[in-house]
């Protein structure tokens, strides 16, 4: 195994990033407020934040250790900005060509009175703090680290709550030796927790606690979707965990009922048309779900759960449509 580099040497620097860096960069996203954009200057390994009004630098994060990555790889940090535009979360990532090269998770907070206005939260230790919180809260058993071993963390983005009060993440950890031999398997299983932007700490609500306590899947076994959370609860609007499988099955059964009622009312030619229309609708539903999974950058069990949720929502709209047609004389 190649040398595993997990120490991010990036620092938040002021508006001094080279113009050259910006010339070889791509814009990754724009804040919901429209005030600033976040981009990646690959040749300089700089994640930049710039005003959309006049291009003023609002802060750059130089990820200099990524300079070691193999030429030709395409490592792009992905920023997810909170609805109020005051927080930017960049999940941890492995480089595609060299999976031993890792970017630690970063959380940035906008403090308008400061220059530059964005500051790192929990420095470069976000993943470690999240994991230690989960170990304590969920009483997770972890192995003792040997003299030459160290713990690495994977933090995935799941969702921002509508009020920007909570960042939902899934966190995993594994142990590697100084020779970069994996000692404690893959960074699985993952556990869900929030970072509360009001309190500045990690937390679990009842929904997350329930999901985290579902027995973890054995290696090679599919993750139970009852252990998957896809949406963050706004503060004061906490609610129960709902199974995406259950929601989809329920909607699908209802749709079948309405569809069969409708087809029973139609003549042969209209029945054929409706069957063709339904086949097209199923393709469209599946396509919508695939697009949604990509747009939310979901993977693994979160992707499966989100796909079912999207299909359930799409099915509800179809039920309404068919019911209206059923009521027509």
């Amino acid at each position: 195994m190649k040398t595993f580099i997990c120490v991010v040497t990036g620092v938040l620097v002021s508006a001094t990033a080279s113009v050259a860096a910006k010339d070889t960069s791509i814009k990754l996203t724009t804040a919901p407020s429209g005030e600033y954009a976040v981009g990646w200057a690959s040749s300089e390994h700089v994640l930049w934040i710039a005003s959309t009004k006049d291009g003023t630098d609002l802060g750059d994060i130089k990820l200099s250790h990524l300079a070691d990555m193999e030429e030709g790889s395409e490592f792009i940090p992905l920023p997810f900005i909170s609805p109020d535009s005051n927080w930017i979360f960049v999940p941890s990532r492995h480089a595609e060509v060299d999976p031993t090269l890792e970017l630690e998770a970063l959380l940035l907070h906008q403090v308008p009175s400061k220059k530059p206005p964005f500051e790192l939260v929990l420095a470069l230790e976000f993943g470690r703090h999240a994991w230690e919180f989960l170990v304590k809260e969920l009483k997770l058993k972890t192995s003792e680290l040997g003299a030459d071993a160290r713990r690495v963390f994977s933090v995935h983005f799941v969702d921002w709550s509508e009020d920007s009060g909570r960042l939902l993440i899934s966190v995993g950890s594994s142990v590697v030796s100084s020779k970069d031999t994996w000692l404690e398997g893959d960074p699985n299983p993952f556990y869900f927790c929030y970072f509360n932007t009001h309190s500045g700490g990690f937390e679990l609500t009842e929904r997350l606690r329930l999901a985290d306590q579902v027995p973890r899947a054995e290696p090679g076994e599919a993750v139970k979707l009852t252990a998957v959370v896809t949406s963050a609860e706004s503060i004061g609007k906490e609610g129960p965990l709902r199974s995406p499988e259950g929601a989809f099955k329920e909607a699908d059964a209802r749709l079948n009922g309405v569809y069969n009622q409708l087809i029973g009312k139609l003549g042969p030619a209209q029945q054929a048309m409706l069957r063709e229309e339904q086949r097209a609708w199923i393709r469209s539903r599946d396509n919508e779900a695939t697009i949604w999974v990509l747009q939310t950058w979901s993977s693994d069990s979160v992707a499966d759960a989100r796909s079912l949720e999207r299909k359930a929502a799409y099915t509800q709209a179809r039920i309404k449509d068919l019911e209206e047609r059923l009521e027509r004389p």
């Binding site: 010339d23 070889t24 960069s25 791509i26 814009k27 990754l28 996203t29 724009t30 804040a31 919901p32 690959s42 040749s43 030429e71 030709g72 790889s73 395409e74 792009i76 992905l78 920023p79 997810f80 900005i81 909170s82 609805p83 535009s85 595609e96 060509v97 921002w160 097209a280 393709r283 469209s284 396509n287 695939t290 697009i291 990509l294 747009q295 939310t296 950058w297 993977s299």
Partner: protein, 262 residues
């Protein structure tokens, strides 16, 4: 049956082979070239067939990166004749995690994933032994999409578009393999006499008022790995009728049969 060979398809094949072997530096150079261009520029490279075009997906959630813009590639040589439609494939960022899609550039719409068979991985950037070729009909209403795996096409998907949506997808690869395999019955009983390696060498669309047909020609051989002492080489030519949804003509022709490389 005569099938006119599409030289464009043949040339693409050669280029793809080169991309497979030398892909990293070349594609990296293209990537850097793309990055160094202004974001609003429509075409990043020159008039090269492999030039990449911008494509933005459907409206994205505010504050989230657009995967179709930053993690997918739209190559100019996948565009339909009217330039409205194209086929996008994932960059390394989403390798193995996202399918290939048929997209509508005019409306920033993702029409649907290319439905490959179970044994085929959707094409992605830098994929070993992978390749993506698209042959559109002149009316931009149908296309043959070839997604390669090692030794042969993994999927040969006919896409039919109607009213701006995908009406039907049909994967011809299983049928082509079955029809191309009589070679194995003609010679020794070794499994090595199956057509184990073939490529699409020509594609032509024939459109009339009454029908829409796809003429396809493949070249293959039985012993590409050199294990058997016998080598059969031949061609497969066929016509797929889109309305009838079946091959209406097929022909397998032996071009050579040799022993021990003679």
């Amino acid at each position: 049956m005569a099938v006119t060979e599409n030289e464009g398809g043949k040339n693409r094949r050669k280029w793809r082979g080169m991309l497979t072997i030398y892909n990293k530096p070349m594609v990296y150079a293209c990537f850097l070239a793309a990055l160094s261009s202004p974001i609003n520029q429509a075409v990043y490279a020159d008039e090269d067939d492999d030039a990449t075009l911008e494509f933005h997906g459907p409206a994205q959630r505010p504050g989230y990166p657009d995967p179709f813009s930053i993690a997918y590639i739209l190559r100019k040589n996948t565009l339909s004749p009217d330039t409205r439609y194209g086929v996008i494939f994932p960059k390394l960022l989403l390798a193995g995690a996202g399918p290939d899609f048929v997209v509508d550039r005019q409306n920033s719409a993702v029409l649907g994933a290319v439905e490959v068979n179970e044994s085929t991985t959707p094409y992605y950037e830098h994929q070993n032994y992978g390749g993506l070729d698209v042959w559109w009909s002149a009316d931009s209403a149908a296309a043959l999409i070839e997604i390669d795996k090692k030794w042969m096409p993994g999927s040969l998907v006919v896409i039919e578009i109607k009213n701006g949506t995908i009406e039907r997808q049909t994967d011809l690869s299983d049928q082509v393999e079955k029809l191309f395999s009589p070679a194995k019955a003609k010679h020794t009983r070794s499994s090595e006499t199956e057509v184990s390696d073939y490529e699409v060498s020509g594609v032509k669309w024939k459109l009339t008022e009454k029908s829409k047909q796809l003429q396809i020609r493949c070249e293959g051989e039985t012993n590409s790995r050199g294990i058997s002492q016998y080598t059969w080489k031949g061609t497969f030519a066929a016509v797929w009728d889109l309305d009838k949804r079946r091959f209406i003509e097929t022909e397998v022709t032996q071009t050579s049969f040799t022993r021990d490389g003679n």
